[in-house]
């Protein structure tokens, strides 16, 4: 049963499942660094999933679909930024509202546009990394994916560089930890937080578009299935480090693949127990590493100049 093809398919599936979580986690991480608890990320993902699929299906271009997903995610993020950063409304309430609202809206749009035909996209074209793709099992599973997967992974060092080596990274950190100090330094806290939330929307929208266009090849209502919330968990566990988001996303994806492997191999355990594995792994991570997690001091607190 555990043939090379099967193991490769499992690992391939693990990567496919991990990418939307990685993108959501990286996006959420940026918001949180800047002090905005972005509970609305699930809404941004579902909007990105719908728009991404809609554009990809009608244009025939996966890249156009990703662009559509990014724009849709940013549009939802703009609402979040206006209400939470601009007007200082409760971030949790607005986030939940956006998630529920866009889940409903996209379900409605699906009803009008796709619910009679259920269009599907062809399999996404993969880009094989020369030589590496020939490694047995791992080659096909890790080095033969659509280019957007490599871009998502490359975003990890990119974000790490941004946070550690650039002024913008410091500004983001300050906006989340000591927004008043940032303000005193002459940097616009609101603009910084706005930019962070919009970037989160871009990441989440791309993650949603990837999930619908590549992961599923179809859009159905509620297709994100809580991926955005998993992204929030990963961002919190990662303590501001993008590489930990990648590790968490891959761990979750691999655990998902292991649950399938265990079932296919006929492991005689209740399915519920097997299905707990990914969540158990995240909880173990939380216990081992999360206790030392320090969230930004001003996370979730709207900034008002001069307020004490």
């Amino acid at each position: 049963m555990l043939t090379e093809a099967f193991l490769a398919a499992l690992l391939y599936g693990a990567v496919t499942a991990a990418v939307p979580l990685l993108l959501a986690g990286l996006g959420e991480q940026m918001s949180e660094k800047a002090g905005v608890l972005n509970i609305g990320i699930e809404g941004m993902m579902i909007a990105g999933a719908f728009a991404g699929f809609f554009v990809a299906y009608h244009s025939g271009s996966l890249w156009a679909g990703f662009g559509g997903g990014i724009l849709a995610g940013m549009a939802v993020a703009l609402v979040m930024a206006l209400l939470c950063v601009g007007l200082g409304l409760n971030q949790i309430v607005i986030g939940i509202g956006l998630t529920l609202g866009f889940e409903g809206l996209t379900a409605l749009m699906h009803h009008f546009l796709f619910s009679r035909t259920y269009p599907r996209l062809p399999a996404a074209e993969a880009l094989a990394i020369p030589l590496l793709d020939r490694i047995p099992v791992l080659g096909g599973a890790l080095f033969n994916h659509p280019p957007v997967v490599y871009l998502a992974v490359l975003a990890v060092p990119g974000m790490a560089f941004l946070y550690r080596r650039t002024q913008l990274g410091l500004n983001l950190q300050a906006a989340g930890d000591r927004p008043a100090a940032l303000d005193v330094a002459g940097v616009d806290v609101t603009a910084t937080r706005f930019a962070a939330v919009l970037t989160t929307g871009a990441f989440a929208g791309l993650g949603g578009a990837y999930l619908a266009c590549v992961g599923a090849g179809i859009f159905v209502p509620f297709v994100t299935n809580g991926a955005g919330f998993m992204g929030i968990v990963l961002a919190m566990l990662a303590r501001g480090r993008p590489v930990w988001v990648l590790a968490g996303a891959m761990l979750f994806g691999i655990c998902l693949a292991l649950t399938t492997a265990a079932q296919v191999a006929g492991v005689n355990l209740p399915t519920d127990v097997i299905q707990m594995l990914p969540f158990l792994a995240v909880m173990v991570m939380l216990v081992l590493f999360g206790r030392r997690a320090s969230l930004p001091a001003a996370l979730g607190i709207p900034y008002e100049r001069g307020a004490r």
């Binding site: 490769a8 499992l10 379900a107 619910s115 035909t117 992961g215 299935n225 399938t260 005689n268």
Partner: protein, 347 residues
């Protein structure tokens, strides 16, 4: 007025009140003007939701009652919707999702409007709560027979997006159907998630793994996730390089098929809803469970161009044996028993 007269008048009044109450009760029992159905997804899924809504509408036509449809409600809290439908005059609310099994009985007790729920036979409450734990297991057995006759690789897969009783019984019956033809054929069983009904990406991912493990026919049970399964069979080749075929449940996906739909275990829930309305009118609602089966064609197998005529004829011969009682297909609802069966088939 003597004491005897007073007693007589009191007795007459009491008798009249009792008769009035009985008449009123009979009147209430007989009066079913409107029913409502609540579904988690849109009624255009070529599956569970669509079949439920269409059946409710047909039952409404047959029995002459208005049908209110609340669709696409998701898997969250439907209490507000139930209260709203009760206020709008629904005489029966059909909560068409196992996820509504807690909320619907609560609202039934609160509003006194009867509800029908799924997958909870122990919840039967006369006059208030009925259960319709339906199972197309007889049809799934036939699908298993067909799969065993048509597999090229000697491996078939079952992919489910959860383990509700209805699907468990179909998974078990499918495996039994496979074994009845050839016990060398392996049945690979995989659950996408605890309640991954709309997880199309998960459906695709798990189905791809099952195909990679050798299955060339997939028996898929899911709501939105089944479209991910369909996508997987359309975009992946079997290990022998040939086409992967898909067996669907409950609905008929022929209009959106791209040549991979082998068959479907189609349910017609209309007789069940008609029976519920009649039971409500006859004041026996909530006293019995409902069933569908091959005998009255409320469960049937779909004929598609992928099924060779000789295979279809053989499968229909098995159908006759089930209808006549010569073959008895057990309804196995427990997930543990289902898994044991898979292990045995695999061994």
């Amino acid at each position: 007025m003597t004491r005897r007269h007073a007693t007589g008048i009191a007795a007459a009044i009491a008798g009249a009140m009792l008769a009035g109450t009985m008449l009123a009760g009979a009147g209430l029992a007989a009066e079913v003007k409107a029913i409502a159905i609540l579904t988690p997804e849109e009624g255009t899924d070529y599956g569970w939701n669509q079949q439920g809504i269409e059946a409710a509408r047909k039952a409404g036509e047959i029995t002459g009652v208005e049908v209110m449809v609340a669709q696409g409600l998701g898997y969250g809290d439907v209490r507000p919707t139930l209260r709203e439908l009760a206020e709008e005059g629904a005489d029966l609310m059909i909560a068409h999702a196992s996820g509504y099994n807690t909320a619907a009985p609560e609202i039934a007790r609160e509003t006194k409007v009867p509800v029908a729920i799924v997958d909870t036979p122990e919840a039967l409450t006369p006059g208030l709560i009925a259960d319709y734990t339906l199972s197309g297991h007889e049809g799934a057995y036939l699908a298993g027979v067909m799969a065993a006759k048509m597999t090229r690789t000697g491996k078939v897969g079952i992919v489910v997006s959860g383990e509700p009783p209805s699907w468990n019984s179909q998974s078990a019956a499918f495996a039994l159907g496979v074994r009845s033809v050839n016990d060398k054929v392996e049945v690979i069983y995989a659950v996408i998630g605890p309640a991954a009904y709309s997880d199309a990406a998960g459906g695709k991912r798990v189905t791809e793994s099952v195909i990679a493990a050798g299955a060339d026919i997939i028996f898929g049970q899911g709501n939105g996730s089944s479209f991910g399964m369909l996508q997987a069979v359309e975009t992946r080749k079997a290990v022998d390089g040939g086409k992967v075929l898909f067996i669907d449940v409950i609905g008929d996906k022929t209009p959106i098929d791209k040549g991979h739909l082998l068959t479907s275990v189609v349910w017609d829930i209309t007789p069940v809803y008609v029976a519920m309305i009649e039971d409500l009118r006859a004041d026996r609602f909530g006293t019995r469970s409902y069933a569908i089966g091959l005998k009255d064609d409320s469960v049937r197998l779909l004929k598609t161009p992928q099924v060779p005529d000789d295979v279809w004829a053989e499968v229909m011969a098995v159908r006759e044996k089930i209808v006549s009682g010569e073959i008895e297909v057990p309804a196995i609802f427990d997930a543990t028993e289902v898994r044991k069966l898979m292990t045995r088939v695999e061994g």
